[in-house]
Structures are given as C-alpha cells and as structure tokens.
Amino acid sequence: MIAAELDVPLVEARGIRKTFGALVANDVEVFELRGGEIHALLGENGAGKSTLSKILYGYYRPDAGDIIVEGKKVSIASPRDARALGIGMVFQTFTLIPAFSVFENIILFLQDLPFVIKDGVIRQRIEDFEARFGFSVNLDAIAGRLSAGEQQQVEILKQLLAGARILILDEPTKVLTPQESQGLFKSMEALRAAGYSIVFISHKLSEVLSCANRITVMRHGRIAGQLKDDEATEAGLLSLMFGTIANPEEPRGRDHRPRISRSPVLELRSVTCAAGTGGVTLWDISLKVNEGEIVGIAGISGNGQRELSDLILGLNKPLRGQKLLWGEDASKWGAAKTREHGAAFIADDPAAFSSIASLTVRENLALGTGKTYYSRVGLQWAKLDKEMKSAFARFGFPRPPFEAVAANLSGGNLQRMVLTREISRDPGLIVALYPTRGLDVQSANAVRDALIEMRNKGAALLVVSEELEELFMLSDRLAVLTEGRLIAEFEPSQYNAEMVGSWMVRAPEMLSAA
C-alpha cells in the first residue's frame, strides 16, 4: 500500500454542506480517500452516504465546501467532470440500455470513441479487465437479460474502461445474492491491489468489517467517526452509527407455542397466473396462510415474488386454479375489495408501487386506507394525523414531517412511511415483500417486532425476503419460490441456511431431473 502511505490523500472533501429544503443531507467536515484503499462509508438510511458520494461524482453540487483531488482544488460540476478526474460511480439502480449488448453498453460510455470503432482492441481490453479482476460477463449477451450481479459487473467495467481510478459503489450488495457478494468482494480486493481506490457504501456491518481498509461512519449527514480496519469492532461501529448500541437479537415477543386457531386466511389452490409487471409466470402455486401464522417465502428476487403479491392483491387474476381469502372465493376480487377486507401490502419497491412521490407524506398515509378517514367529501386529516403519529411512535420510527413531499424522503423513510400506513390499521392479512430492505438495524428490528406482534394478535402474514436469517427468525413455515414455482417447504426444525439456500438457486431443470 504505497499510495496509502503518501501524505496527500487522493480525494479530500472539506466542509461539504448540502441541504434539500429544510433537510440537511450533508454537513461533512473532512472526508478523505487515500490511494489503494477500500474505504467503507457506513451509516443507517438517510445518514447522507449517497448524498456525499453523489457530490463527489458531480451528480449533486454542494451548497458549500471544497473537493480536493491529489492536493489540487477542483470543481466537479457534472459526472463528466468527475470522470475526467478518474472518479466513477455505480448507482443503486443500473443505467444499462436493456436492448443493447454488454459490449455496446460499455463502448457507449467511452468518451473519445473514434469514428470507426475497432472492436477487437476494445474487446481485448475489456477481457483483460475481466480476467484481472474476476468478472465474468459474456460481452455479446443482451444487457436486459443479465442478472443484477452481472449488470453490476458491466457497470463497473464501464467505469474501468472509461479510465476511472476511483470507484464509488453505492450499496452494491443490496441487489446481490450472498455468493455474488463474495465474488464482488474478491473483485474489489483485486482492484485495490492493482492500485484502485474504492468507496464502498453499505449499512451492513459484517460486509464492511470483512472488506474495508478504512471505515467512515456517517450519522445525520455528519461524519460520526473514522476507523482503520484493525481498530473497528462491531460494537464500536454500532455505537458510532446510532450513538447508542442496538442489539440485533431475536425479536421480542417471539412465541414458539404451536398455534391453536387454524382457520386459513389466504389459500391458493393450484393457481397459474400469466406474467405480470415482473415478467414471471406463476405455475401451479398452492399455498395456505392461517390466522396467527407467518409463512416465509424464500427466493432470489425476480423469481415471481411481485407476481405472487399482485395475484393476492387482485391485480392479476388466476388463469387456472382458485384463490380464497377468508374462506371466500376471491379469484375475481380487485385490489380495492381485497384491501377493504383487511389485507395490507408492502411492495418490493415502495417508491414505485406503494407511494406517490408528488404527494405529501400526509396524503400518502391517507391513500389505501379505505373508508377509515372519510368525511363528507374530504378526509378527516386531524384524526389521520393523530393516529399516524401514534403509529409512528408505536413502531419507534423517526417521523418525517407530514407536510414533506414524499419525493424528498430517503429510501428508509419512505419504507417506514409505507409500513406504518399498512400495518397500523390492524390488517388480517399482511403480504410483505422485503419488509426490512433498506432499513437500518433498529428500524429493521422494530419492523420484525411489529410483524410478530401482528401474528400474535391473529393476523396471517406472508413474508417474502432474500435474507434467510430474517426468514428463519420470523417464519412458522417457509417455502421456496424459484422461477414462478413453489418448490420446497420447510418446518422450523428443518431451517438450515445451506439446505434452503441450495433450493433457492436450483434451476427447474434440475428439479424435474431430481
């Protein structure tokens, strides 16, 4: 680590301040990135990690502050400027053109393309990069057909080929399976060894501890502390992140007694359902969720989770088979009717499917609540305010101002807003897709506690998640969803990460062979 021992940091951000309306997103005294290091930026949702990195990449302009690259003060007014300085960023949502091949996507990103493109030379360079850093993407594959992990590799390759020496990865493991994450860490290490510097954004302690050389912890837009990898401990980082130590232990109120009441709330009888928004067809799904029970659905996202939720919600109708809710044939129910009967939904992407960015938090909280707050022509806003405030308090969630426009909320705040709205009306059925995705440790615990509380009160819950640990913690039963089929079911005594995980990644051809 020769570069790291130089006195001058590679990138230095001083006095960076950025506000969005009344919200102070960043108030950073000093952030330093050194050459040849993996520098983790750790913090809970809304701590300002993404904002800081987007400022470094020229995506946002700071209200105040300086950015110094190799000792020289620079002005980064756009991502183009950042790239000219060798700074590249991979965003949480990818920017590939789905219809183009991997190769086309990469060359499209290059600045100084000649009039006639010499495919061979560029291909050779890409393949060199792939071999050196452990990437494996077929250059002729269509980008839209790649897995999230492969798309991420393409995004990184794009930046490398465009000459980036500094890579900012914004929560790169969020979309990855555990195996893919391990692969990414290996690539990151190879890049670091080759002299690249990486800013690795995450809120997962274990990842940060396993791969970072230095860790900067952010809290409420400020730098809460900076540690070298050998100084960092889980407890130390947690106290920096939250001020107090949060215990990621088993949720309170977990009740292992067998349930006595067993009347089914949701029942799917060999339902086949055409591909919906996610493009996956559900095949012959049979599933029962009883009162006072949490059924977990494990599986890698994009295997029919959204379709399953839409089927239960009534957006997609079964082509074959039958859907029963509370014992009634609900195959033809629409979303409004399903909700009115007491079903709550937590979608996989709250910004896209559960909230309206242009409306205020208050208005968003009112939507989907049925007739609860009806007045003659309007809504009883005072009553709504009161009940929602107490709901936020009940879950221990920080409460965003109700006048704020939803578009200005961080991902975590948005998720908490949706959760509060959906769970606070004591639904009889909760379909929750990745309910703790994007939440910090404390909020995630609060959500799990709330789900278990609902179960103990007699609600039926279907929880979809990628995190086995979470599913094991919550579920009374567990099924695995792969390519639109439910292929295996487990009782708590059979919970075993290796076994369930192996079903998650199993391809259907292997199933029919088995």
């Binding site: 979303a335 559960s354 309206i356 939507l367």
Partner: protein, 347 residues
Amino acid sequence: MPHNALAIAFPIAGTKAGRAVATALIALAVFGLLLAAAGKDPFRAYLDTLAYVFGNAYGFSELLVRMVPLMLTATAVALPARIGLINVGGEGQLYMGALFATGGAIAFPEQPSFVLLPLMTLLGFAGGGLWALLPGLLRAARLVNETISTLLLNYVAPLIVSYLIFGPWRSSESAAYPESTAFSDAARLPAFFHTRIHAGLLFGIVCLALFSFFMAKSRWGLEMRAIGGNPEAARRLGIPVFRYTVAVMAIAGGVAGLAGMSEVSAIQGRLVMGLSPGYGFAGFLVAWLAGTSAWGIAFMSFLFAIIASAGDILQFTQGVPYAVINVLMAIVLFIVLGQRQSRRAPR
C-alpha cells in the same frame, strides 16, 4: 439558480409569474415583427386592440363572451391531465354538446325556460360527456390511446352536426344557408346588461371553482392526484383507476359540452356549422399554458380572449385576416414549449 440567459438578465423571469410575463412580451415582440414585415404598424395594432377591449364596454363584454368557451374547454383538458390523460377532443365534445342541447331545444319548443334551460344544460353535458366516454373506455381497457381517439373524434362531431343541419334539422326559413331552426326564446340563455355576456359565464366560473375545490380538498381529488403521480402505485393502493379514467373523461367531455350548449343557446340561437372558431383547440393551449391550475386557466382564458379580440379588431384597422391570431397563439405555444424544454434538458 438561474436556468437560462433570460433568467439571469431578468431575475423576475425565474418566478412563475415572471415567466408568464416574459412569455407574453416575447410573443408580442415576435408577432410585432411579423406585422411590421407585412407592412403593418405593430404599435398601432396593439394600441387598437387595447383600446378596443379595455376602452369601451362593448369590447370588454365581447372579451368576457369569448372567455366562456375557453374556460370550459380548458377545464375539460385540465381535469383529465390531472390523472395523466391528454384530452385533445374539446372541439368535438363542444360540437356534440351543442348538438344534444339543440336536440332538446327543437324537441320541446313550447316548454318554458325554467324547464328547457336545465334540460339543455343536462343534454349539453351528456352530449360532450358521451363523446369523451368512448375514448375513456377505450383507454381504460388499454385498447386505444386517448390522445389519438379524442383527436380523431374532433373530425367526426362536426360531420354529424352538418348532417343534421343539412338534413333533418334544416331550417325551412333560410333555404340558402344550412342551419337548424331558430330556438324559441325560452331556449336562449339570458344575457346581462344589454350585452352578449350570458349565463354561460357562470358555467365557466362554477366549473373552474368546482374543479379547483375538488382537486385540492376532496378525497376524489386526492385519489386523482395519486393516479396522476404514480398509476402503478395507485392501482396497488386499491384506487379504481379504470373507473376514474372513464368517469374523468366523461365529466371533462361534459364540461366541454357545456361550452357548446352555451354557444348555441346564448350566442347563435340555432345550430350552425362554424359554431366554434377552434375554441376546443385554444382551450387545450390555455390549459397547458396554465399548468392546469384554476387561477391559471382563468388568467390564460382572459389572455387568449384578448388575442381573439385582437383578431376581430385587426381585421378592421389593419386589414389582416382573422387567422393571423393563430400565428400569435402558435408563437406563444412555441415559446412555452421552449421554456419547458430548457428547464428539463440536462446541463
């Protein structure tokens, strides 16, 4: 932070009102150049126009008369726009409203006005509503885009009107000129102050007020704003998007139909061909420029009514055809489009 050179030169141009003023000034300047190029005196033209619309009671009353259909057809655009639908069919809906209202007036010539006028109002609303219901249904069923269907139906409605006034409804009095029989006095909307200002102005004001109130205060308005903001999420929140699509289109068409009803009942007194000099299209422009806000629509209708009055007066004083005002409207449109583009374009 200023977005363009204009905003740097005139800080007020950065505000909403400032942009509107800047738009008007630029449009007048460009149109003035055109007039000058055609050998006319633009300053004279503008002064004549101002003197005409603000200098005497008649001119001003005509301005208000022209505002009525503009306000109504603009509301008919603004309402669907709030749920993300583009209704360009105001013209056709206006014609169908006029047609239905005429049907009422012709069928019951003996009825007193307290029966006939409410009936014609309802019929006018129904006619425009039905004409927009079809595109609404097609859109809700995801069959045909509403922009296309409403646009095309604009060409169908006048044909039906012309069939009726050349055929079954043709007046026996004027054999030379195709028009329906004249309405009975009871079928005429009352006018005020010995001018042509008529009760249709109340339609316009009431519709705009209701539109504004319902969008901002009612739960239906909230649900509509939700659909407009994110239809996918709205569907998942149990908001009946299909029903809203159909109902909103029908109501919007009905409002445009009221414009047709008031034109035949208050102004023409019979169904004729050149019923509207493109009010439906101008209304689209008004709504768009106004950003679908009620105050904006009222203001823009006023502005466009001035432009339309300018067309009247310039025919006399400058000897230019009435159609030149279309040039002025087009200039306004281009400037506004240019501003939006420059605000959206990446820097």
